[in-house]
């Protein structure tokens, strides 16, 4: 079966510099690098989730590996997209001690998980959630410690969730 992972690699390779720049406003500017590193490691891996986590490292390695695991379950086991994303959001919230409105990846993931099983609707909801992070004050992650807690800056992690779900929707469409 075709995997969605190569499409994610391609998508994030194109976004690497942009994601670094987004992250630099409130963090250390390496979010694009770590995402690409993790995604490349999934190709051909026996356990793509673990491969991503190990290669990416950092908080994002652990947290984004959960999103990838959810999409793996949808594509390989026919699990329902919204249910998997809701479970992923719960786990990420527990591990990262974060909730909706904290200006994190959850601000894209939670609305996405509430958008029903259709992948297009999910991707659209994620994007709207991401755009809403601009006015949020960060309460988790390195952005929390920045002057003004990052208000006025879009969150890099929420952007990555948006791109992952958008690429996944595209992949599902192309597969049909």
């Amino acid at each position: 079966m075709n995997s969605f992972l190569p499409i994610l690699v391609e998508r994030f390779e194109g976004l690497e510099a942009e994601l670094n720049a987004l992250d630099a406003a409130t963090g250390d500017g390496d979010h694009g690098i770590t995402m690409v590193k993790g995604l490349r490691a999934t190709i051909g891996a026996e356990n793509p989730v673990k491969a991503f986590r190990k290669a990416s490292g950092g908080a994002s390695g652990s947290l984004f590996s959960i999103v990838i695991g959810a999409l793996e379950a949808v594509s390989n086991k026919g699990a329902s997209l919204d249910e998997e994303l809701a479970q992923a959001a719960d786990r990420i919230g527990q591990m990262g001690q974060a909730k909706a409105g904290d200006k994190t990846m959850l601000d894209a993931l939670i609305p996405a998980s509430n958008a029903g099983p259709n992948a297009d609707h999910v991707a659209k909801a994620a994007r709207q959630g991401w755009l809403a992070t601009k006015e949020m004050a960060a309460r988790r992650g390195r952005a929390k410690y920045v002057e003004g807690a990052g208000i006025g800056h879009l969150d890099a992690g929420a952007r990555s969730v948006t791109e992952i779900l958008d690429a996944f929707a595209q992949w599902q469409k192309d597969r049909r």
Binding site: N20, A24, G29, D30, K37, S56, L63, G96, R142
Partner: protein
């Protein structure tokens, strides 16, 4: 900005190669090449293991502190990125014996998430591991929310005190309690002057006008929380000491340990001048200070920044702080004034 490395992909591993080649009688690689451990481990003979995982780019912390009297191992992540939970677990497995292990975690998001996950996996496998969160930076959360603060240079007091204590055969539970006690007695505040350059991106990690300093910058160059116009250093230090002593009062006559840490681009000349001002302020308040540590130990590339840490030890903690150690990069601690 020019940087000297072979490739971004290999920079962490190339550095570790150099480190273990330079100090082979003290440190060696573990089964996973990202684990740096003591060449002669005592943790299978009843000593509690002490280890930490962290992103690299902050040397000499933490791998430079592996050795007798300090850490048993350091799990090295990529530049500024916590090692994965899987890698930290391998580090725990490598050094933990019957007596158990303290996994030190400097309170930063990735380190906390991956460290706690690794400790849970190790406990599931039957290893007696306790994760100890370390936090001391008063700029990162207000007084009363100490456990929301992030780890900064003052965490080195915990490394050293627990490292020496573990060597005496102290039990896991006692060590953990001692670590919490050191943490409760330590406060740190930092100030940044010039940005460092990320070796990953080649970009400056923050921007700052020539006439300003940032108070409370994070160790990864996260922009600070408060700005001031730059002036004579005694004014800056006086402001910072007022903040530190307001956060945790130190009574006249209480022996105090001072750590002035540089972030890589602040010279020893500057750091010693800062120590001069700290010492003068403590003298004026009748607070005896002894056995200081002044130098660049927890760094962020060539960042021009420093922090002041104050720690009021018990007699027992002081003895552990002053105890001999044999590591590549932890400095000798001398008596200093008042001892």
């Amino acid at each position: 900005m020019k940087k000297l490395f072979n490739s971004k992909e290999t920079m962490a591993d190339d550095m570790i190669d150099g480190f273990v080649a330079a100090y082979p009688d003290i440190v060696t690689r573990g089964k996973n090449p990202r684990i740096v451990r003591r060449t002669r481990l005592k943790t299978k003979e009843g000593k509690v293991a002490l280890l930490i995982g962290n992103g690299c780019g902050h040397e000499p912390i933490a791998m430079g502190f592996v050795g007798e009297g300090l850490l048993d191992a350091n799990v090295v992540g990529d530049v500024f990125a916590a090692p994965s939970q899987d890698l930290i677990l391998e580090g725990i497995e490598e050094v933990t014996g019957e007596a158990g292990a303290v996994l030190l975690i400097s309170r930063h998001e990735g380190d906390v998430i991956n460290g706690n996950a690794a400790a849970m996996m190790a406990q599931d496998d039957g290893l007696n591991v306790k994760p100890l969160l370390m936090y001391d930076d008063i700029s990162s959360a207000p007084k009363g929310q100490e456990d929301e603060r992030r780890g900064a240079a003052g965490t080195m007091f915990i490394y050293k005190v627990l490292g020496a204590a573990a060597e005496t055969g102290m039990s896991l539970d006692e060590l953990y309690a001692l670590g919490e006690d050191v943490r409760s007695r330590t406060r740190t505040l930092g100030a940044a002057v010039t940005p460092g350059v990320s070796p990953l991106t080649g970009e400056s990690m923050f921007t700052l006008p020539d006439d300003e300093v940032f108070i409370g910058m994070g160790v990864h160059g996260e922009p600070g929380v408060g700005r001031r116009k730059i002036g004579p250093v005694n004014e800056l230090v006086s402001f910072m000491m007022d903040e530190l002593l307001a956060d945790r009062e130190i009574a006249t006559g209480t022996p105090t340990l001072v750590l002035v840490n540089g972030s890589g681009g602040t010279t020893q000349m500057e750091l010693l001048t800062i120590y001069r001002e700290v010492a003068a302020i403590l003298d004026s308040k009748g607070i005896p200070h002894l056995s200081p540590m002044v130098g660049s130990f927890s760094t962020t590339q060539e960042t021009g920044a420093f922090s002041i840490s104050l720690f009021t030890p018990t007699q027992e903690m002081l003895a552990f702080w002053q105890a001999d150690q044999r590591t590549p990069n932890f400095p000798n601690i001398y008596g200093g004034k008042g001892s």
